[in-house]
């Protein structure tokens, strides 16, 4: 699907029509290589090795710790073991926010998101599953699993952990999360060299992939809309408190949203996931182009990133209550995101000559 299978590239039939003519009329430098000397590959290597891959490693570690906590609780159902499992769930959920933004290539091919964080969770489906059979790979089950599904099992009064079907279901959900994470990590072993060598800024380049997945659709769909706009009722005029992330534990919505935002910010600043040291970054490239073009987009983006962060930090922990009592606070964050989306989509993508192709033009 979205994999970069460059070595397999052989366009039978079409190549005989198109390629020979182009070899004559066109040089090796197509429009995918803007005429500047900025070292984009160094940026991609930094993002890959110091942000993407460590975030998946950490997620894997946290999921395994949740597994241990589950085993311990199943062996001995004490309140403290339950609390430890809840704590392990939260740690893993937070680490997912560091990994969620790399939703392309191996993660997309594996369908990692479908195992992790589709919400609001379908509690009727979960209750039905506890009494019967289920295939967690079916699309109707995607909103009955992942961190939101586990949250329901851990925090809802409707769940009775003395019923062994609950721990079995928890285990099945966790197993799918672990399997998809392992597949993603394993696929990155081969995808890494394709990705860091996909130079230029066109659709298939690493820069193009980052803009057309992480920097824009992820930001818009999974942050601006899912965490703020939908529960705030930004587009419908009707707040939907039951659609917040972290519905059943109630106090974690802000921590999850802030963690996701900080990971997103590091994707621009190139700050290491591991030790938060600075590295070659996309923002450096924006600055580089600013100097060539006489623009100040780098400072503008940093200022807008600050605005979003401040807006999130100003919220209470419990988004469910906010959506009930003062949804405008959520919509204010949405608005701060929206300003930044506009800057990225129009000005920065243009300055960097990145092709924005994710917009659905199907029209029917």
């Amino acid at each position: 699907m979205a994999r970069l299978k460059f070595t397999e590239m052989r366009i039978i039939k079409l190549s005989t029509l198109i390629l020979p003519l182009l070899f004559i009329s066109c040089g090796e430098d197509g429009p995918s290589t803007p005429g500047d000397n900025f070292n984009r590959k160094e940026v991609i290597e930094n993002i890959t090795d110091n942000l993407i891959l460590p975030s998946y490693s950490d997620l894997n570690v946290e999921l395994n710790e949740m597994q241990q906590a589950l085993d311990t609780y199943v062996a001995s159902a004490t309140p403290s073991n339950k609390a430890a499992l809840e704590s392990a769930w939260l740690d893993a959920y937070l680490s997912w926010q560091d990994a969620a933004l790399w939703n392309f290539g191996p993660a997309e091919d594996a369908g990692l998101l479908t195992a992790m964080n589709i919400y609001p969770t379908d509690t009727n489906q979960i209750l039905a599953n506890l009494q019967g059979s289920y295939d967690l790979n079916a699309i109707s089950q995607f909103d009955a699993q992942g961190f939101p599904g586990l949250e329901y099992l851990l925090f809802s009064n409707a769940i009775d952990w003395t019923n062994p079907a609950v721990s079995t279901y928890f285990q099945d959900v966790l197993s799918r999360m672990k399997a998809k994470t392992e597949t993603t990590i394993s696929d990155w072993n081969t995808y890494r060299s394709d990705f860091v060598n996909a130079q230029g800024t066109d659709r298939g380049s690493a820069f193009g992939i980052l803009f057309n997945h992480t920097f824009l659709p992820y930001l818009e769909v999974h942050n601006r809309e899912a965490k703020f706009g939908i529960p705030g009722g930004q587009r419908t005029g009707t707040p939907a408190p039951e659609k917040v992330e972290g519905l059943y534990s109630r106090v974690n919505s802000k921590a999850l949203a802030l963690r996701a935002f900080e990971a997103y910010r590091r994707a621009w600043t190139g700050m290491s996931h591991v030790d938060h040291t600075a590295g070659a970054s996309v923002l450096d490239y924006v600055t580089y182009m600013d100097q060539r073009n006489g623009t100040q987009l780098s400072g503008k983006l940093e200022s807008e990133l600050d605005d979003v962060q401040l807006a999130i930090e100003g919220l209470d922990n419990d988004f469910y209550s906010i959506a009930q009592t003062n949804p405008q606070q959520l919509n204010d964050v949405w608005a701060a995101y929206q300003v930044m989306v506009f800057t990225i989509k129009t000005e920065i993508s243009s300055s960097l000559n990145v092709t924005i192709s994710y917009v659905d033009s199907d029209g029917d």
């Binding site: 366009i11 182009l22 090796e28 429009p31 995918s32 479908t114």
Partner: protein, 378 residues
């Protein structure tokens, strides 16, 4: 190999387009405009009418997410009976979609069964629209995305009725008529006498009728970002222009063939036919694969509405593969691929990704395609 990608990417840029070779004896115009005695000799009104009928039929069926559909009305639109169209000129056109469904000499043996196949989808859509439920595994109804901006009427397996009908009829009518009727000797080895009563010769007119199913416009714009009413196939073919250059090749072939007919240069006419028929074949399998890939990606994002819509379009194009001129895909093979995708719980099944991969691989093997083409990573 980034090199190869950029080569493909620039294939659509003017500076790098293949030069159109000029036959010394044949003057090929830059648009599909041909005149004699200061009068246009180009006419394909029947093709414009049938695509307009299809548009009204599709629009009506898409209304099934909000209103109960009327089966008699849909059949009337399919058969052009009882003045069903808002555009009154269509009602009196004497044309219909059904009479040209699977109607080429190659496929007419299957015409009745094919018409019933599409009527069957219409009847199923009507039933689903009468008591619209929220679509679910095993339940026909309306499926929506999270913000309700996309809503589709689907069957109990997730198949969107109107997409199978629309994309299927694109093959069964428009492509079949083009490649298996008008561009065959039976329609081209005919009278080519400019002194007859019409502004055009019979041969010119048949060529134009094929062209009218390729695109609705005589000045085809090859830039997909420029809006133009290109017609059902034209829109998709131009959409593939930047990566595959099919639209420029086919547009040139149609213009050259038409000029050759005027010049009575029948060798030149016959030379370009395979460019057109191959282009239709490539467009059909590229769209089938493209929609399967789009659907698979959307499934992996948990976007059921987007996924089912795309997969249903893929099913329609897979249906249309039986109408390609090369006959590389039999009706039985096309049916088997569709069955692989929609059997059992269909798109709701947990193994749907595996079944998508199976069909993609089979299509790739049938047309000897690279993995990059099959996976859409080209």
């Amino acid at each position: 190999m980034r090199y190869t990608l950029s080569i493909l990417a620039i294939a659509g840029l003017a500076a790098c387009s293949p030069e159109e070779p000029n036959e010394p004896a044949l003057s090929v115009p830059s648009t599909y405009e041909f005149t004699r005695n200061n009068e246009s000799t180009v006419a394909y009104g029947g093709q414009i009418d049938r695509q307009a009928m299809m548009a009204e039929l599709s629009t009506t069926m898409k209304g099934g997410v909000d209103n109960a559909l009327d089966y008699d009305m849909l059949v009337d639109m399919y058969e052009n009976q009882n003045n069903p169209f808002a555009d009154a000129d269509l009602n009196t056109s004497g044309k219909s979609l059904s009479s040209k469904t699977s109607a080429s000499p190659t496929h007419t043996f299957d015409q009745g069964a094919t018409i019933n196949y599409f009527k069957g989808w219409m009847q199923a859509a009507v039933t689903a629209s009468e008591n619209p439920a929220t679509a679910a595994d095993g339940v026909a109804g309306v499926i929506s995305n999270s913000d309700n901006s996309k809503r589709y009427l689907v069957d109990e397996r997730g198949v969107e009725y109107v997409q199978v009908i629309e994309k299927g009829l694109m093959g069964a009518i428009f492509m079949d008529q083009m490649v298996n009727n008008y561009l065959t000797p039976a329609k081209l080895d005919v009278e080519n006498d400019a002194t007859n009563a019409d502004p055009y010769t019979s041969m010119e007119h048949h060529w134009d009728e094929a062209y009218g199913y390729f695109t609705l416009v005589q000045d085809l714009n090859l830039d997909p970002s420029v809006s133009q009413e290109r017609g059902y196939w034209g829109r998709y073919i131009v959409g593939l222009e930047n990566n595959f250059g099919l639209a420029s090749d086919m547009y040139y072939a149609f213009r050259k063939g038409r000029a050759a007919i005027v010049a009575k240069d029948y060798d030149s006419r016959d030379e370009v036919i395979s460019t057109i028929t191959d282009g239709m074949e490539q467009t059909t399998y590229l769209k089938a694969l493209g929609y399967l890939n789009k659907g698979a990606t959307a499934l992996n994002s948990g976007e059921a509405a987007v996924a089912f819509h795309a997969l249903s379009e893929g099913v329609g194009f897979i249906y249309s593969l039986r109408y390609i001129a090369s006959e590389k895909v039999t009706a039985a093979q096309s049916d088997a691929w569709i069955e692989t995708l929609i059997q059992g719980n269909g798109f709701w099944s947990g193994d749907i990704q595996t079944r998508i991969e199976t069909v993609k691989t089979a299509i790739g093997n049938t047309f000897n395609l690279s993995e990059a083409i099959v996976d859409g990573s080209h």
